[in-house]
């Protein structure tokens, strides 16, 4: 194990800002990640708006493993491994729906929506009544958190509480989950989850959101096409201060966009511009006279990424082997927003993000080709460079939590990415 520890330290050399390409291609490291990271950390599973009524379910993933997010008959939310205790077959074969029970298609064991084993064919004659059904329910996560409607879970009973796990990152998650007027958790997931497969290591997506402002020029084509809702660039950032932060020891990274003076967003869509103007005035009443702060990209370690405003979304990077990722995107809107506003926002979001999104298409191309470059014998002798903004010390910002690593787009930093890999290294080495 010491040898592994030594080689991990060498591969993630944060003192010199270098990370081995093997992190993105090595099958043994990948397997270790499943155990040390995905089986232990808090992972995003879904949102309660996907399962509003008793009996509703939504199937999701925690790492590579299929899980069921279900609301039982009494209204309680559960997250359970989607695997029959008898031979492992999926007990739920659907993406979503409503049911009284989950029924295994193989030998017919059935479970209620709370995961209790309720039906065993030939129970009396076959098991002679000896099978203790109470011990063979679906495997439930060790801890579950419903944070403002977003559902998170971990398989580790000894993991810290979700709020401790988040730390200061809570502020940025709130920017995505609270309603635009500052109301607590007034968001909902829009129906229809985008899911797609990319030949990329899962960490390329996670680190891009954590927070890579350096890749901005890769999106020049979409800026030139001017898909932004005010007719300029790809989103409304004019006149905003853009700040990136890291959370040492937690691995999260985030970005805040702080409006200066006039609030000019969605200028080409008067109903939406009006909606945000009113929401902002309301938020001022809640939070006092501070500038408007909008959520930018961020990653909650390890694989849940956020954007709080344009677009407003949660992305998941589900690992599918070292060289493949299944990406999921949930899109969020204010639950109480008028239909007209929701419609404009939804259309803008999917034009921006996802595999049909004009911005994200180019990211996928770059993550895939970066992944390709991690396999060669010669190439993998040369580490990646993570030295951008190395050693830069910046004052904290009184408006937002986190250690500031970038306060101006002209001087981007990989400080939050270094924080992500520092946490990765710590967990792979068994440290907490």
């Amino acid at each position: 194990m010491d040898a592994l520890k030594h080689s991990l330290q060498e591969m993630v050399d944060l003192k010199r800002g270098m990370i081995s390409r093997k992190l993105f291609s090595d099958p043994d490291l990948y397997q270790l990640e499943q155990e040390k990271i995905f089986a232990r950390n808090w992972l995003f599973v879904g949102h309660e708006s996907l399962i509003p009524s008793p009996g509703d379910f939504f199937t999701s993933y925690m790492g590579e493993e299929s899980v069921i997010l279900a609301r039982d008959k009494a209204g309680k939310i559960h997250v359970m491994l989607n695997s029959c205790r008898h031979r492992g077959t999926r007990v739920c074969r659907y993406d979503q729906g409503n049911t009284a029970a989950f029924y295994c298609s193989y030998h017919g064991w059935s479970y209620d929506t709370a995961g209790r084993l309720i039906g065993v064919p030939h129970y009396q004659e076959g098991y002679e009544g000896q099978l203790d059904r109470s011990r063979w329910g679906l495997i439930e996560v060790a801890q579950l958190a419903n944070y403002k409607g977003s559902i998170w879970a971990t398989w580790d009973a000894s993991a810290p509480s979700f709020l401790d796990y988040l730390g200061g990152m809570k502020f940025y998650l709130d920017l995505a989950l609270d309603s635009s007027d500052g109301g607590e958790g007034g968001s909902e997931v829009i129906g229809g989850i985008q899911k797609w497969i990319v030949a990329s290591n899962w960490k390329f997506g996670a680190e891009n959101f954590c927070v890579d402002h350096y890749h901005n020029p890769s999106h020049r084509s979409v800026d030139l096409a001017a898909i932004g809702p005010s007719g300029k660039g790809r989103r409304d950032i004019e006149g905003m201060r853009i700040i990136d932060v890291t959370f040492p020891g937690l691995g999260h990274g985030a970005c805040a966009r702080i409006s200066g003076g006039d609030l000019a967003v969605f200028a080409n869509y008067p109903p939406v511009a009006h909606y945000f103007k009113r929401a902002y005035a309301e938020r001022q009443r809640h939070h006092g006279d501070r500038p408007a702060i909008w959520g930018g990209p961020g990653t909650i370690f390890p694989n849940a990424s956020l954007q709080g405003f344009q677009p407003r979304t949660i992305a998941l990077w589900h690992p599918r082997g070292p060289l493949q990722t299944e990406i999921w995107r949930f899109y969020l809107v204010d639950r109480e927003a008028p239909e007209e506003v929701k419609n404009i926002l939804r259309r803008y979001f999917v034009r921006y993000a996802g595999p049909s999104g004009m911005t994200e298409q180019d990211d996928m191309e770059n993550w895939r080709t970066a992944t390709e470059a991690t396999r060669g014998v010669i190439a993998s002798r040369y580490p990646f460079n993570y030295q951008l903004g190395f050693g830069r010390q910046l004052p904290s910002d009184p408006l937002i939590p986190g250690v500031v690593v970038m306060q101006d787009l002209s001087a981007p930093s990989e400080g939050a990415q270094r924080g992500f890999y520092a946490r990765w290294l710590q967990l792979m080495n068994n440290g907490d």
Binding site: W196, I197, A225
Partner: protein
């Protein structure tokens, strides 16, 4: 029992619609995107919903509802023109260098013709090859509402595309359908 209305088909109209759809596919294969935009009405709706795996009892929720749920595409003429503009910059890396795309359009059926409109349903098989060895097959069906702009010309007023996939087995949807 549903009848198959072979007798009622206007063969001349069917031929016209087929030729229109084949011509459109050719424009796209040849990357004449600005010419393709000319085939769309100014109020065109271009939609590709997402498919979900649901139980037989819940078939109604299999396809996301454009207009209130998330789709792969939910575009109008302005945003389709933005997509064309992006490709034309030569820096849209998902399409630079350009994909080699070949569209097969088949099983064309027409229905509900009026003096000004006709609905066309078809199946597609689209092959996309990129860079060295990347390849993707897109298979599905489409419905197009075609509007007659003059005696010799049709335009697309609405297109709905149903891809026969739930999890998209492609890195990107950087082509037109």
């Amino acid at each position: 029992m549903p009848s198959i209305p072979t007798k009622a088909i206007d063969i001349d109209l069917l031929k016209e619609v087929e030729q229109f759809l084949f011509h459109e596919a050719e424009l796209l294969d040849e990357r004449r995107f600005d010419d393709w935009l000319e085939l769309l009405t100014d109020d065109v709706q271009y939609v590709m919903p997402i498919s979900r795996s649901v139980s037989a009892a819940a078939r109604g929720s299999e396809i996301t509802h454009a207009g209130r749920e998330v789709c792969w595409f939910d575009d109008d003429k302005t945003t389709l023109a933005q997509r064309v503009r992006q490709i034309n910059t030569g820096e849209h890396w998902a399409e630079e260098p350009a994909s080699r795309v070949c569209r097969l359009i088949t099983n064309v059926q027409i229905s509900a013709p009026s003096a000004s409109e006709v609905t066309a349903r078809d199946r597609f098989l689209i092959y996309q090859n990129r860079l060295e060895t990347d390849q993707t097959f897109f298979v599905g069906r489409r419905e197009s509402l075609l509007r007659r702009v003059d005696e010799r010309r049709l335009q697309i007023a609405r297109r709905t595309i149903w891809l026969s996939q739930s999890v998209l087995l492609a890195q990107n949807l950087s082509i037109f359908f």
